[in-house]
Amino acid sequence: MTRPGRLLRRHAALLVMPMLVALFLAATVAIHPAFGAFDVQSLALGALPLALAAAAQTVVVLSGGIDLSVGSLMAVANVVAARTMQHAGFGQSLGLAALIVLGGAASGAVNGAVLVASRVPDVVVTLAAGFIWGGIALLILEQPGGGAPDAFLNLGAGTLFDGLVPNALVLLIVVVAAIWLPVRSSRLGLTLYAIGSDRTAAFRSGVAVERTRFLAYVVGGVFSAVGGLALTMTTGIGSPLAGTYYTLSGLAAVVVGGVSLTGGRGGMTGPMFAAYILTLIPTDLIFLNIDPNFGQVIQGTLIVLVVMGGGLATLLRQRP
């Protein structure tokens, strides 16, 4: 295979996903000519928590696992932020945010440790963990409420460069790059992909498989906590029940973003673009005067079609 062809295949998500986003944006403008800078701003803000949920899920899925507690962890971070930041100053709120991210790492560590120690499959552990974290979120904040200082909430609002680049997008890029790039370029990133791709070969190459699985959940926990903070930013309050939505939609973004659910294949950029697409769908439906609840149907259908397509491809490959 020639070099460009190989590059194309390996980075298909990188090429296709921006085109898809552009296509959806173009369609949005066509449907709704008044779609302007403000709408782009709210799109970027709306996509922020979903993109971070997808980031959390991506790390775990790349390592060959699956995390059904992402949304609940986000909810915990969200309600903790809304409760503690309500009467805090801007500086204090940044300090609290840092603590919450640390807490996210610790929660991810708990998930990972239970998983490795109990030898129960990822699915069961994180399903149960999801309900436990969800319960904790409800204990911290029974009803949607709380808040955060305006300066903190405004981090994600506004634009740069004459309204061309929404701050929320900059924030997303900065945060994901700050967490993921060091991981990706370190030995951890390499071992993460390795255990997701082939655990036996990775083990024989000298990789500490269990430790890497554990660390994947820690990094996932960090992303979940940041996602919870982003949720506080977009909604201004804490809502303990936001959980399930982001678990499912985050997984959808991962699948649509070209990450293989069997692990080892895919990247971080695909799911980020997919998060924008999944956020654009309900927006477009509103502009089209179609019931935005169709958005959920379309998301569900998209997941099902993408995974079925993957299954079909596998079937065809096995039967030459």
Partner: protein, 477 residues
């Protein structure tokens, strides 16, 4: 199950040392211990006189022992460069070695998934060499490797020897062992039975050691020879080809006959049995059951045509958590029309009859996983007795089974043949072919290279043919 009882292996500095043994002799268990995958129950491993205990492949590597396996330890979704980083290997040295192997143009940014297996083995070898191990363990990496690439492997092993380091070389090819190795340790039934110098006519001694005690001549006494078979063959295979390994195989098997198949690992026998059992589709050739051509899409088709499989790996065939009864009765509910109420009484009678004929010990009948290996294998065979068949395909059915049960199974195969069934039996234990078979065919490189009556097939002849060597005029004593 004890795979390894008393294995001694001494490898000198500056030698290429062969590790030999028939299938199931304990080679792979020994390799796993040497490389830190399994921990020994007893005994010790020393490198340069220092006792070592490895907890992982990484620890073995750090102690100076690096292995290259038949299936390369390369992660498919990573590039070559990334795989080298994974094992902390300097790419420049690897590139030098690969240059010597004739792969100087290889792009290290290529994903491993996109490369053919022989290339991967050499990359794995180059990676191992670059780690500068004191001991290099090559586990059957020349199997199914083209001759020119195998030549590079020999050259690397010789160079390692000239540097005063050691190579442990595992292979089934006697010829290459004679040409390459200084000494050979032979394992049988988990015990070291001898150390031989293969170069000076040691081949015959290796064969003798691998065989162990001469087979009991009278073992077949009491088993009546089957009546001369007549009519169309129960199973006929014509020019069958499947994948890389099964190239061109034809034979006919008559009702009332047991045909033995002898082969080393990976000569195409897996593919042959998979095709006959409906697990794989052949690329070319024909399968005829009782004279009618067959195209199997699913094992159900093969079962309908009367071909049933007893696989080597019992774990593959059994429902470990279910009872002996349910395991035996499984094929009885295979069709859609069996989904309704179970004819419990009739089923129980059929299962009981099969259990009785095979003398299955039913004391731990609630969960098949708690039965002994021999009893598990009997359950797999009993399943087909209860279901009915015309041709029984047995793939190494006595692997890891005690001698008493083995005898029972062979006696049963004879009995089945006597009552009109056809049996195709692949076994890795060549000494047992005369016990059970009427005829024997030898498979090498995906083709049948020899055929003879089982009565005259002594093991030395079979082993030589299975190694691709021409049969000699007289068999050694």
């Amino acid at each position: 199950m004890v795979a390894l009882r008393a294995a001694d292996l001494q490898v000198r500095a500056g030698e290429v040392h062969a590790l030999m043994g028939a299938n199931g002799a304990g080679k792979s268990t020994l390799v796993k211990m040497l490389t830190g995958v399994l921990r020994p129950d007893g005994g010790s491993i020393s490198i340069r006189g220092t006792p070592r205990r490895f907890r992982s492949p990484l620890a073995a590597r750090q102690a100076g022992l690096v292995s290259v396996y038949q299936d390369p330890a390369l992660v498919p979704d990573l590039t070559i460069a990334q795989n080298l980083r994974l094992a902390r290997t300097p790419p420049d040295v690897v590139r030098q070695w690969l240059g010597r192997f004739g792969f100087s143009a290889l792009d290290f940014a290529t994903a491993v998934r996109e490369l053919p297996l022989p290339t991967l083995r050499l990359i794995d070898l180059a990676r191992a060499l670059a780690a500068e191990p004191d001991i290099l363990l090559l586990d059957e990496i020349t199997a199914a490797l083209p001759p020119d690439l195998a030549e590079h492997v020999y050259a690397a092993a010789r160079q390692w020897r000239s540097l005063g380091r050691s190579v442990i070389f595992i292979s089934h090819r006697l010829a290459e062992i004679a040409a390459l190795c200084d000494r050979a340790t032979v394992l049988r039934d988990g015990v070291t039975v001898g150390v031989v110098e293969p170069a000076q006519g040691g081949e015959e001694r290796i064969v003798a050691l691998m065989l162990g005690a001469p087979p009991e001549a009278a073992a077949r006494a009491g088993i009546a020879a089957a009546a001369a078979p007549s009519g169309p063959p129960a199973l006929e295979v014509q020019a069958l080809r499947c994948g890389e390994k099964l190239r061109d195989v034809s034979f006919a098997l008559r009702a009332g006959e047991v045909l033995g198949l002898a082969a080393l690992e990976g000569q195409g026998q897996e593919e042959l049995f998979d095709c006959l059992a409906g697990l794989r589709r052949p690329d070319a050739g024909a399968i005829l059951a009782a004279g009618a051509p067959q195209h199997f899409h699913h094992p159900a088709d093969a079962i309908r045509a009367g071909l049933v499989l007893v696989p080597a790996d019992r774990v593959r065939a059994l429902l470990p958590q279910r009872s002996v009864h349910e395991n035996i009765a499984l094929p009885l509910v295979r069709r859609l029309r069996d989904w309704g109420g179970l004819p419990m009484r009739a089923e129980r009678a059929r299962v009981a009859e099969a259990v009785r004929r095979l003398q299955i010990d039913t004391r731990a009948a609630a969960e098949v996983k708690r039965l002994s290996g021999g009893n598990q294998q009997k359950v797999v065979i009993a399943r087909w007795l209860a279901c009915g068949f015309r041709t029984l395909l047995c793939f190494d059915p006595t692997r890891g089974i005690d001698i008493g049960t083995k005898r029972q199974i062979y006696a049963l195969l004879r009995e089945l043949a006597a009552s009109g069934a056809a049996v195709l039996l692949f076994t890795s234990e060549l000494s047992e072919i005369p016990l059970a078979c009427d005829r024997v065919a030898v498979l090498f490189g995906g083709r049948i290279v020899a055929g003879m009556p089982a009565a005259g097939a002594d093991e030395a002849t079979l082993l030589r043919a299975a190694h691709g060597l021409r049969a000699r005029a007289e068999a050694p004593a």
